[in-house]
Subunit: 417 residues, 2 copies
């Protein structure tokens, strides 16, 4: 069987199963989640054995420590996967929700019903826990899933796939509700992203390289998360302590997440008040500072280059710029930012409103750290990624981002005049 | 200047103008709409003269009567365009709406703000009134627009574009808020649909050929409206009179619209009750009937072929099939339909719920004619098209379909632990 035949078979099965899971009741979906967890628990030793094969192959292949760490499973990680399944079972079912039912002058009643998207393709790197996480979110939101994990995790994913199958069958659902691509053939990715007959939407989860490769070649819509070049703007009307707290937390809580601040903008009238104190705090954490000329007049920093303003460091490095107005700050953010998360620190009512309205990012904050950009912090209960798309869904994507709405029309034999 | 240079210049201008229109207040946007109407009124003779040039060229080129009719402008059609502008000015402004603001355990308050998409590209056929209609909807929803009409309407569109410019400038808005591509070069379409830097979403308006061409080549997201293969299913528990009313209206009110019924499904237990009477009514309207074998046993009809079940006639032709259960009807619709609009006629509470939940179409109706599938009938106030997409927006698309939502986070110096 060629890779294309293999994929078409899997795609057709997923499409058919998507009809079943779309109309499955909440209890049945929850039961499947719990049963998958039970199967994982039972198969712990099989999974760890399979993971061991992947780990050894990875070490031989010379994968770096970070990749090996993400690939590795242990009892705690399996327990966390099971715990995640229980959490998702506990979330409200978004499917079937009916809203906005209004009577129209013609007498018909019109509203909307929330429905699944159909088949969701997930393309991710060699992190076996994503297999469970993604399958669970798609299942709960009534979608079938085609999962394609990194080839280094193939044995781990195959072992986990067996547990998913066991769980689905135990709940009386077709196994093709979750299809795990258990071939290392890289051609599968190209097929997934160009087969609108079998896949309704693609969610790539991984580094920028993966996401760019997927989205530049996809003919299927992609929920993509490109980089997070996040800003904090300390306004002239900022409370000094709040400004320092937010600017420090936004950079230093964690460096490697997409919601970390990469550029600090400071209004010229407050710069000499806040920058020296921030310099000290950042120095304690060994954060390298790169500033514009005006920043260099106030504190000792390296010179920032034009490139710095559009760089996502994901590291203890921060670029700092002094601006002369709110408008300058907003223009800088809209020009150099990545439309991810940006925050203003101000006590001014009017400037908070201007910033919220005019910054074109998926999350716009006032007096809060950009590190809050997260599905759990926003109350979504779960997160499959953070979208920097403008259409369909922006920012943290939870169950609702994996759904759509159809129109419902109720009449009593109404005909249109 | 090459077509690509021309387009890049226009695209960059539209992108810049999109920032201005995104934050423009409601009053300014309404003022622009009214001023555009005023400019159209003043320029009536110029517009009619330009249209006359297009009409003569169209006749020489041998355009058929339907195309010429859509191309032609007269005083009434200009008045209708002006009236349309006033109607859109009267609609509520969707932009800036804030919803779902909730406090989270961390103390931050999180919600959503409705925002424009950015720059919307509209590709349409030679119907000059669409120029005003599309520009007005995009403007009201805070978006910049790049408009590309059919080349046969180039003179009419250029004259209308001059009025749009006058109106925008009179309201103090940049003229690039609406960019009308006034070149007949067909390369413009390819550039529009493959330039995500300048265009955020494409809305093709026109026949199936145009839409398929656009969506199979676009790398920019497309709100597409493919065909409307709409069904009415007369259930065993249908009220006979309602069934006949709905089935007759769904086919015969207008044949050429996408919400017209193309296939009638009838439960076997009620078929001999309703089909003879429907046969008479359809015969009065000279509707050609094509039926499955069971239908042929009850009334005199031509035989339906497999192809009939997936044909959008847009004509006085109807295919009819007898089914043995609700499940069969739903399976037929999900298999052969186009996910547009489908209706059940039934008095059964349970079956109405099953049908609504399980039919995977953008509009699902109970005891109502499929011809209600329309933005005005649904209360959208305006309609830029009907989407058969699953993501972003399904069914009739009004102002809200041209917007997205960003997250808003309000704190008081909150940092993430």
């Amino acid at each position: 069987m060629t890779v294309s035949e293999y994929f078409n078979q899997a795609g057709a099965a997923a499409r058919e199963a998507s009809r079943v899971i779309a109309s499955a009741g909440t209890e049945r979906k929850n039961q499947a989640l719990i049963e998958i967890g039970r199967a994982l628990d039972t198969a712990r030793s099989d999974i760890l054995e399979a993971n061991n094969v992947d780990m050894e192959a990875g070490r031989e292949k010379g994968l770096d420590d970070a990749l090996l760490d993400r690939l590795e499973l242990d009892h705690n990680r399996i327990s966390a996967m099971i715990e995640g399944l229980h959490q998702i079972a506990g979330l409200a079912d978004p499917i079937g929700e009916i809203t906005d039912m209004n009577y129209r002058p013609s007498g018909i009643q019109v509203g909307k019903m929330r429905v699944p998207l159909g088949v969701i393709g997930i393309i991710y790197e060699s992190r076996p826990n994503v297999t469970i996480d993604a399958a669970a979110l798609c299942l709960k939101s009534g979608n079938a899933t085609i999962l394609r994990g990194g080839s280094e995790a193939i044995n781990s994913n195959t072992a986990i796939a067996a547990c998913i199958k066991t769980g689905l069958l135990a709940a009386g659902l077709p196994e093709a509700v979750v299809v795990v691509m258990d071939t290392a053939d890289r051609g599968i990715v190209d097929l997934m992203i160009t087969s609108p007959d079998w896949v309704d939407i693609i969610v790539p989860r991984g580094g920028k390289g993966l996401i760019e490769r997927v989205s530049s070649n996809a003919t299927v819509p992609v929920i993509k998360h490109l980089e997070g070049i996040c800003h904090v703007y300390i306004d002239s009307d900022a409370d000094k302590q709040k400004a320092i707290d937010v600017a420090f937390n936004a950079k230093c809580r964690r460096y490697g997440i997409c919601g970390a601040m990469e550029t600090l903008l400071v209004h010229q009238s407050i710069a000499s008040d806040v920058l020296p104190q921030l310099e000290e705090l950042y120095a304690e954490q060994s954060v390298e500072l790169r500033g514009c000329e005006k920043v260099q007049e106030i504190i000792e920093v390296n010179a920032a280059t034009e490139e710095d303003w559009s760089t996502e460091y994901l590291a203890p490095i921060l670029s700092i710029k002094v601006v002369s107005s709110l408008e300058d700050a907003v223009a800088h953010i809209n020009n150099y930012g990545s439309g991810h998360t940006d925050s203003i620190v101000t006590e001014s009512y009017t400037k908070s409103r201007d910033f919220m309205r005019n910054v074109d990012s998926s999350s716009v904050m006032v007096n809060a750290s950009t590190q809050f950009a997260d599905g759990f912090e926003f109350g979504l209960g779960a997160e499959i990624g953070i979208s920097t798309n403008k259409i369909h869904v922006r920012g943290p994507v939870g169950l609702e981002g994996l759904t759509s709405q159809k129109w419902i029309v109720l009449g009593d034999g109404h005909i249109r005049p």
